[in-house]
Symmetry: C2
Subunit: 178 residues, 2 copies
């Protein structure tokens, strides 16, 4: 299945989580067996070309695609989690949201020094979460040069922001309007 | 890798999330490329034998294994989510925790009537979450007869509770003591 076929499997839900937002919903894509597998194939091809030695994915939807890409490539998966979820030693980074702030944590033992870690998530909007994840993975010693997304909302500027920070950004599909 | 090899990749973290709890941590298993892939192979073999037509996994760690099993079998993945995360129509079920209660939600359109849905999660302790997930998937029209876990803590009685409710329960490894 092409990226265009996969895009047709995304459902748009109006006014979620707030009025005026067109939510691009992956539930319909991941519920489609062939669509889910093809999405991971496309991501895995790009991760392999990028020289991935580990995949990092953000809680929770990033776990769906990130772990599957790691398995396809036979490499490890690094969960990037919300605060208080990881039981052993953690390092964290706080980052600003439109209203308030949030925090991501990883287990630094999950990264080897210099290891090439590719970030995988379902969607990039403003890029705040991905920027924080890249910062955190680098803090743990990882080499982070690539981020892969199923969906990009280019009007929200996240991919441009990541590129300005030196990351190579790829997405399988784009939706205008954010 | 055998289930015994995989068990050796689990890290035990004492006193998390509370004093006296021995937390069985999958971070070290999923960070090991061969271990992660073998875990999913073992689960997928069991899900296939159980006649899975879709896999359901619980947020967030269940997404790591559940989606990967679905991809291995070429079938769809149904995310079982915490409240307020799914954008379209949802159905939910509240269930009791040791202190307080929690709620799970699914999108009923993700299940076809009579579809054989196998539950996959990382760990079964008291079984409350898995029982709630089974109830919810059945409410949506699914046929739910099997639940697969990476880790079982048999002393906490979850697997026995699920079996008493008519589910077939399999796990790759067990830890005594809970």
């Amino acid at each position: 299945m092409t990226a265009e076929d996969l895009k047709a499997l995304i459902r748009t839900v109006p006014d979620f989580p707030e009025p005026g937002i067109q939510f691009r919903d992956i539930t319909t894509l991941i519920g489609h067996g062939a669509g889910l597998a093809a999405t991971v194939d496309h991501l895995a091809t790009r991760a392999e070309r990028a020289g991935a030695q580990a995949i990092a994915g953000m809680e929770a939807r990033g776990f769906i695609f990130g772990a599957a890409v790691a398995i396809r490539l036979g490499i490890g998966f690094v969960p990037v989690r919300k605060p208080g979820k990881l039981p052993a030693e953690t390092i964290g980074v706080d980052y600003a949201l439109e209203y308030g702030s949030d925090r991501l944590e990883i287990d630094p033992a999950a990264i080897r020094s210099g290891q090439s870690v590719v970030i995988v998530d379902d969607l990039i909007a403003t890029g705040g979460t991905a920027m924080a994840a890249a910062q955190l993975l680098r803090l743990a010693g990882g080499t982070v040069e690539n981020a892969l997304f199923v969906i990009d909302l280019p009007d929200l500027g996240g991919a441009a922001r990541l590129r300005a920070a030196g990351l190579t950004v790829q997405s399988l599909m784009q939706f205008e309007g954010g």
